[in-house]
Symmetry: C4
Subunit: 208 residues, 4 copies
């Protein structure tokens, strides 16, 4: 049975790859100043530390979203309009990540730190919702899925996103009071996904 979704995956890969690579443009090259010394450049680079943190978190967040996208589309063989637009919504939100990421980098050391973290974690809540929408569209018509996919695999993928949702929501709510904790939750979710990604692989194998 022919897989109809190859060009969707290619286009999505393009958007993911560009979104992740454009992040580096938010790191600023310090200006050369007269009397610039070794220590001076080092100091200026150190002052940018929130930018590095935003870069690392955003890069690996998008990377993990791509890994999940990859995993979901391995199970999708046909497309319909709902699926196309759920995927479009994911790509829209992912292409947007560099904006709140740059806000975070610039305002982390200001009075607006809390607001920048709230916007940042809020975007990931939306991305998670869009993923739930995608999987809901894909499973609403079983003809769209890989022939022979087990109900257990369908459940496991859905659970994966459903479990992500309260976590991102928690990060969002916490961001209003403890922005640092909220960012830590985002990072912890990677560890969870990196660990759980092994389990899902396991579920896929027996279905082959």
């Amino acid at each position: 049975m022919e897989k109809e979704t190859e060009r969707i995956e290619a286009f999505s890969d393009g958007v993911f790859a560009i979104s992740v690579t454009l992040l580096v443009l938010e790191l600023h090259i310090p200006e050369v100043k007269d009397g610039n010394t070794y220590t001076h450049l080092l100091e200026q680079l150190k002052l940018q530390w929130p930018g590095y943190i935003a870069f690392v978190i955003s890069f690996f967040s998008i990377f993990i979203i791509w890994v999940n996208h990859h995993k979901v589309f391995k199970q999708i063989y046909k497309r319909n309009t709902g699926l196309m637009f759920a995927n479009g919504l994911i790509l829209f939100l992912v292409s947007l990540v560099s904006f709140p990421s740059a806000l975070l980098a610039r305002f982390f050391l200001t009075d607006s730190k809390q607001l920048s973290v709230t916007i940042y974690t809020g975007l990931f809540v939306l991305i998670n919702l869009a993923f739930n929408l995608l999987w809901q569209q894909a499973t609403s018509d079983k003809k769209l899925l890989r022939p022979g996919i087990s109900d257990a695999a369908i459940r496991q993928l859905r659970n994966n996103y459903l479990y992500g949702f309260p976590t991102y929501l928690a990060a969002f709510v916490v961001s209003f009071f403890y922005p640092d904790l909220a960012l830590s939750i985002c990072v912890l979710l990677w560890v969870f996904w990196a660990a759980s990604s092994k389990k899902i692989n396991f579920t896929e194998t027996p279905a082959l």
Copy 2:
């Protein structure tokens, strides 16, 4: 029968994906100012609202153009020079979208609002013309098309673009007098295309 157009589609996907992802660079990060407060950043972000509207309209317009490009190239199996250059013209115009989109964002709250909307809608008229040219090139020699494609499917695809043309032209003309209405027409056209995209899928299926 071998499909000759794979690398054209891959290249086009690249241009679409980059065009859509570069749009985010037009959103500006507010400057940090001394005495910057929570409210201050929020105010500055709110002032940028035409930028968000331009970003959303441009993103989904390019996304729908990509969906249509995808749909058309599923029916094209061979290429000729005319096809290559009609496609090149589409890509040229799509890669240009971020420019009038940024104009719109920056001048929507100024005296030049009308001009920026006119340029913006005018570009989509040209993209629609380029699509008509592509489909006309593809159907001018039936050997270029998918073997066994029905005349009904050919007509339907052509009608899809022909119907789009007067709508975009209307948006362009209206933009001289009622810029807000012109933008609304562009958004309405998505809804039409999202709805009609289901119909086209249906036409494709029986031809398999």
Copy 3:
């Protein structure tokens, strides 16, 4: 016989697609000024006309280089180190195009017009040389080529680039004295290539 060059083509397509899409970043959005009027924005956009010309010439030049790259790699089935690095050289020079293109846009109305055109046309001379190097590497070992390729097809592809070389060299030399004429030669070469691309397609077909 397996085609070994698919990932080279995918990577090259990526570089071509990005190079061509980044060109739009060289078009500048006029600043909003107090008392900005309809006429004012129009005036500012008109002042940028060398930027539009540079954008159009650079876009279609890279596009035609991509068409040619596509055509050449259809005949290449295996790779060796020389081929990889000749291709790397082409990509390096293509990724560079936006720099002299931006120079041209900015300095076309200044005393440095001639220099900017000379640098611009000089880059295309180098790209043409790199293409000749690629084809020379590919034909140096006939095992790299598509099985069953005719000697006539090999000659025709080589001639295509050899003919391009004196034309670009002429544009480069002419640029020192008549910059406008030099740019016109570059544009004429597209017409030649668009026309000759039909002929090459014809040569390929009987070889199938």
Copy 4:
């Protein structure tokens, strides 16, 4: 046996292609000044020479990393979590290259020259480590590799990266004292890799 890593390669190609193409954005277009003359633009372009050097070294360094990535993934047929994240680490570091590259361009003629070269060479040490990690992950479970791969080929690929490591480390250490020498070592390593890439091709062929 199906190759499971195609979408990983497509995504990676995207990141490599964008990283390499974004480098050109670090070349600055001189400002137009009143009384700007032919000589003036030429002078300004000449002043940017460290930028050209950084561009050339960074472009071909990423290109060679891509060539090696290509070569390694030709031998990898299955993926696991470790592999996905080792690859993610490589992409993270590669997407970062344009930042130290721009630092190098801007600070090469200042007191901070040494620091900028140290950061630059340090990044390549990390990329080399990430490659060693990738290959170690791939070979930790022989089921991930191309069926029928010879132990000699596995050893040769590993040695290729192991040999690269002390060289990049040497460049890093040397950069503290002789920055120019450190950059020269990076360039020499290309020559080594270009030469050794021929040898590896040879090893692959008998394994077919």
